[in-house]
């Protein structure tokens, strides 16, 4: 198990080598994820998916990247040029940088130097990931703002509002993990899960995190910033060529990053899953990277599965879910967990039955409180103005569909007898 003091001792050539390694791992994982997503979603929709470029179509995403490089770059005349250039760079760089603290495995020997399989670690490394992810939001907002176009602006606003809302739930779901691990460093959190994964011990935190991570990465069913039917492409509508590719890359790197964070904080990081972990020596050497990869791929598959299964939420439902469900539930869960821990420390471990009873009473009380709050708000009905009388389909200037309860007034057509024509009796309908 690497200690915090094991970090920061690498010679410079090893730092460069590890940096290159992390970079290559990320790029390869992104290319693989894009290919896997297209293939898996294709299978779910009874199609085949890309299978022509390389074995099983594996080179498809690489060739797509080359193709984008050969495409014309269009910068709209309305764009704020400097910011328009900066935004994709900001997105891509922060996405890469957030990966610096992910642990891939225990200590190994690289060319005779004993070093942990992790680029770096420090006592606040999870906070660092959150901070860098927040800077990444600037890339999206600035992209939407600087395009000087309606849809990107709306997409950028939506992205920022969505990401900051779900970042709160994400941040709150970490608190219980820090409480049990007693540390905010990724390597120490992995070490503290040797006996039991936090996904089991702190199941509500895990569920909240998994929900929030889908919202945080703008993925289906929470992909409202890129809602094609509403906003064309969202914040990157005006981007083309490799600038667009940078946003695409950043989105998929963020997917890999949040999956790795989920693995590290809740699924025991690089440690082997339970029955395998009984084999001595399985958690040493280079082999644990395989467990890390398998667990991360599990979350990436979850992303793809969600995209293939669920329809997109409406924006108000989505924001209400984040602010009215996820945040109160996370706060209550933090109070419950920390309260139980505080009581246990004060009373000692002998009072287990009292503790269980107390927990049940507390949970029921909190649940009732939450229900009461929800019911009171649900009573408020929206002010629907009841339409009176029939409505012209050409209400005002634009043709509009009828609201619930409205009926269109009868519009005379040439086939029907016109009021003036029937009284005279001289005109018959042409084909009657």
């Amino acid at each position: 198990m690497p200690e915090l003091s094991d970090f920061g001792n690498d010679p410079f050539w090893l730092v460069c080598l590890k940096t290159l390694g992390v970079f290559v791992i990320l790029v390869v994982l992104v290319l693989f994820t894009i290919w896997a997503e297209r293939r898996v979603v294709a299978r779910m929709q009874m199609r085949i998916g890309p299978n022509r470029t390389g074995p099983f179509g594996l080179l498809q995403s690489l060739m797509d990247g080359f193709k984008l490089a050969l495409k014309e770059e269009i910068i709209p005349v309305t764009a704020h040029r400097a910011v328009y250039w900066l935004a994709p760079l900001l997105s891509a760089i922060t996405a890469f940088a957030a990966f610096a603290v992910i642990p891939f495995g225990p200590e190994v020997s690289i060319f005779g130097v004993i070093t942990p399989l992790q680029l770096t670690d420090f006592p606040q490394s999870v906070l660092y990931v959150l901070a860098v992810a927040s800077i990444g939001i600037y890339g999206l907002v600035l992209a939407g703002w600087s395009s000087g176009s309606t849809y990107p602006l709306l997409g950028g606003l939506r992205s920022s509002a969505q990401m900051i809302s779900y970042e709160i739930s994400m941040g709150l779901s970490f608190v219980a993990v820090f409480l049990y691990a007693g540390s905010m460093s990724t390597s120490q959190i992995v070490s503290s899960q040797q006996s039991l994964w936090f996904a089991v011990l702190l199941a509500p935190s895990f569920v909240i995190y998994v929900t929030a991570m889908v919202g945080e990465t703008n993925r289906a069913p929470f992909d409202l910033p890129e809602a094609e039917s509403e906003l064309v492409g969202g914040f990157h509508t005006e981007y083309s060529s490799l600038k667009f590719a940078m946003f695409f890359l950043a989105e998929y790197i963020n997917m890999v990053t949040v999956s790795s964070i989920a693995t590290t904080l809740f699924l025991g990081g690089w440690m082997a899953p339970w029955p395998l972990s009984l084999i001595p020596g399985i958690n040493s050497g280079w082999l644990p990277m395989l467990w890390w990869l398998a667990k991360t791929m599990l979350f990436i598959y979850l992303f793809i599965w969600l995209r293939g299964t669920l329809p997109r939420l409406r924006y108000d439902q989505f924001m209400a879910f984040g602010w009215r469900v996820l945040i109160p539930v996370s706060l209550l869960w933090i109070v419950l967990v920390s309260g139980l821990r505080a009581i246990r420390e004060e009373m000692g471990d002998t009072s287990n039955t009292m503790l269980a009873v107390g927990a049940i009473i507390l949970a029921v009380l909190l649940g009732l409180l939450l229900l009461a709050t929800m019911r009171r708000t649900r009573v408020r009905e929206p002010d629907i103005v009841e339409p009176t009388g029939p409505l012209s389909p050409q209400a005002g200037t634009f043709p509009v569909p009828p609201l619930p309860g409205q009926t269109f007034e009868y519009t005379p057509r040439s086939r029907q007898p016109v009021a003036g024509a029937t009284t005279s009796g001289s005109q018959e309908e042409p084909d009657a």
Partner: protein, 119 residues
Amino acid sequence: MNVYIPILTLAGLAALFACFSVTMATFTGPKRYNRAKYDAYECGIEPTPQPVGGGKFPVKYYLTAMMFIIFDIEIVFLYPWAVYFDSLGLFGFLAMLLFLVNLTIPYVYEWRRGGLDWD
């Protein structure tokens, strides 16, 4: 070596890669001028005139941003508290409970006043 140096090397490598790609694309791609192509995209209709910076946007986003700041500060206070929870004991728990209750009051107020409604 300092523990923060590897972050700089990784960010530097990413910056090199991103800057190189974006700059290279301006040379590799074709350039065929067409005035309509450089207009803001709006599904084919005449684009709505936009001031640089986009002009007005719904005030709901502003409210969301303010709520985010409040809760983010709360999170920043919760993190060190969670790490040192065991040494703080029951006192630490009650103190943080008081803080959370204080923050819940404006949250409930905003909820009841409709600040969390997206119409």
